[in-house]
């Protein structure tokens, strides 16, 4: 991808500005602490990956990052604001949940069009046109009139991505967008994330296990400890590969051996 130098310059400068700032965040429920003292930030325009073993609390962390849960300690800022207070207005971010969380009583098209209906004055046919375009983006134009129960697991994931993108948020959280998909579709999701990021400037926070996609898309990553001690490593994928931390090393080598 070639970009004019001046644009590149502006792009680079914008990249420095954090869109998501997390300071001393401790997550868990009541007395149960899942991860403590998480501090990191995500810069505008980057693809940021959250890695960690199954059960380490990645999905839970996303719930705290978007303001669905109240932190035990610490705070989260999205574009300088507490996400919890944004809830009633239009949040500047989209979320794709690990299980999709599509509304079972609506068709896929209605699911994607819902945020448009609720937050804009678009006439229904215009909202539907946008929804169709978003579905085409994830390769699901044929599923517009289907119910979520009629989709395969991977199609649900892609429909959920389309819904998260409905209002063109500047930040999206994607919880395992390509887990459990065949390699071709998974690579397609990676391409989609790259396109969103490079062409539309969408900042992506991606929870993923897939080594291929980490190297393909991530600018930076953090690795969560599986014992709840917080972030064990942070940096770009190449530098993490050199890490001496046993968990990080296992994560990268074990997985790459199998791929």
């Amino acid at each position: 991808m070639s970009t004019a130098p001046a644009v590149q310059h502006a792009h680079e400068r914008e990249k420095q500005e954090p869109i998501l700032e997390v300071r001393g965040l401790t997550i868990g429920w009541g007395d149960v602490v899942l991860q403590r003292d998480l501090t990191f930030h995500v810069r505008r325009g980057e693809v940021f990956a959250i890695l960690g073993r199954s059960g380490s609390g990645k999905s839970t962390m996303v719930r705290f990052l978007v303001g669905l849960e109240t932190p035990i300690a610490g705070d989260v800022r999205i574009a300088g604001q507490d996400p919890a207070v944004m809830a009633a207005g239009l949040p500047p971010f989209g979320v794709m949940f690990q299980g999709g969380a599509l509304f079972g009583s609506m068709t896929v098209g209605e699911n994607v069009a819902l945020p448009l209906h609720e937050h804009t004055d678009l006439p229904p046919n215009a909202a539907a046109a946008i929804a169709r375009a978003k579905l085409a983006l994830v390769g699901l134009e044929g599923a517009f009139d289907k119910l979520p129960s009629e989709l395969s697991g991977g199609m649900k994931k892609r429909a959920a991505i389309a819904r998260a993108l409905a209002l063109d948020p500047e930040l999206v959280f994607l919880d395992e967008p390509s887990a459990g998909l065949d390699p071709i579709t998974a690579a397609g999701i990676d391409d989609l994330i790259k396109t969103l990021n490079r062409s539309l400037g969408v900042t992506c926070v991606v929870v993923t296990h897939e080594l291929d996609s980490i190297f393909a898309i991530a600018d930076r990553c953090i690795v969560l400890d599986d014992q709840g001690r917080g972030i064990v490593a942070e940096g770009d994928p190449m530098s993490l590969r050199q890490s001496t931390d046993p968990l990080v090393r296992d994560f990268f080598t074990r997985r790459s051996r199998s791929t």
Binding site: M86, G89, V95, F97, A101, G104
Partner: protein, 387 residues
């Protein structure tokens, strides 16, 4: 099965029956030999347990050299028995583990220095159980209060920004909770009116007061049974449906998805249901009133020799607008109660499918209770008001 006639089959399950393994202790060595299948696990566990329970030794070796075959389940029990010994301060060790089982024993924790002692069923006293229930009840109450608070905040927000409401859903809900309920409301009300008339017929006949069946049915129906039966039907149909819908949305993260889209779920889901039931309930009550009276009319004509016109004339003479109004007034708080209980239970769901079922059941039970109590309170209040 002909288990009774085949002694060999019956004996198989018996501890005294032929056995493919032996467990014997000599000093500090417990020797396991033979074939240990998972289907014999219970017997193996009992015997192993009895053997190692009161060993007076400071070190025990569980020797597997004689075992020809050990299934995974039995192996886990052997590991557990060893862990129990270790937890009692006895240096226990499993020896001569067949090579192919070693990784499994290690995974089970059978080689570790300090194995996890087997979990013990903790017997809970009555006091503890009562305490736990009380804590749970208090938490439930707190959640209910918090729910009402959230709803109030949501409604305030909604008044400020009416477009936040999911008004589109109201017609569908009216159809589902109202139109679809008409057949059952009609059937039940007719039968209630009919049965009431029939049961009173004998008594009234004795006094030659046949025509008063009209008063009896009309007043009971409009004041009490119409609204109450309708509310019970609506609670069973729509209340349960609302709870199940919302609980399902909750456990599949759909509620959270709504929140991340800036659509407050309480406003979005509860308010349309409230509006729909508040519209539907009085109408259904009117239907129930009319049909119940018709049920009485049929009985009057068939077994009391009261002609339909005499029956209707009598109703016109005695039934006051207030009788009907009373029922209609009550139906609104009934509707609100049904929706609030159903939605609150739905939002309280967490976990999986079993939680959805639990919340739905609990919704119906709580609603029945609340409706009957509420109805009694209304009757009392209206009586005190002198009406």
């Amino acid at each position: 099965m002909t288990a009774a006639t085949t002694p060999s089959r019956a004996a198989e399950g018996e501890p005294s029956g032929e056995r493919s393994f032996t467990i014997a202790r000599a000093g500090s060595v417990v020797r396991l030999s033979g074939v240990f299948r998972t289907k014999d696990a219970a017997a193996a566990w009992r015997e192993l347990h009895d053997t190692v329970e009161n060993v007076g030794e400071s070190a025990v070796t569980i020797d597997l050299s004689g075992a020809e075959r050990i299934d995974g389940g039995v192996l886990a029990l052997i590991v557990a028995a060893r862990a129990e010994l270790v937890s009692k301060g006895i240096a226990a060790e499993i020896t001569s583990i067949p090579e192919h089982l070693k990784p499994l024993v290690e995974l089970y924790g059978g080689l570790s220095e300090r194995p996890r002692p087997p979990a013990r069923e903790r017997a809970r006293g009555v006091i503890a159980t009562i305490g736990e229930e009380a804590v749970r009840a208090a938490a439930g109450l707190r959640r209910a209060v918090a729910f009402i608070g959230d709803l109030a905040l949501g409604v305030r927000e909604l008044i400020r920004r009416p477009r936040l409401g999911h008004w589109k859903e109201v017609p569908t809900l009216v159809h589902r909770a109202g139109t679809d309920a008409i057949p059952i409301v009609v059937t039940i009300s007719f039968l209630v009116g009919f049965v009431m008339g029939y049961q009173s017929a004998r008594q009234l006949e004795r006094f030659g007061a046949n025509v008063y069946v009209a008063d009896l049915v009309a007043i009971a129906m409009t004041r009490e049974l119409g609204p109450l039966m309708t509310a019970i039907i609506v609670a069973g149909r729509s209340g349960a449906a609302f709870a199940a819908e919302i609980a399902t949305m909750k456990v599949s993260d759909e509620i959270d998805a709504l929140r991340t889209m800036g659509l407050p779920p309480i406003v979005w889901l509860v308010v349309p249901r409230l509006v729909a039931l508040v519209i539907v309930m009085p109408l259904l009550v009117l239907v129930a009133d009319v049909v119940g009276v018709i049920g009485g009319l049929v009985v009057a004509a068939v077994s009391l020799d009261v002609s339909p016109s005499a029956y209707l004339l009598e109703i016109r003479r005695t039934l006051e607008p207030w009788d009907v109004q009373q029922g209609l007034i009550k139906s609104v708080p009934f509707a609100i109660t049904i929706v609030l209980i159903a939605c609150q239970k739905g939002f309280a769901a967490a976990g999986g499918a079993e939680s959805v079922g639990q919340r739905t059941t609990s919704t119906v039970v709580t609603n029945l209770f609340a409706l009957v109590v509420l109805d009694a309170l209304f009757t009392l209040t209206f009586r005190l008001m002198g009406k």
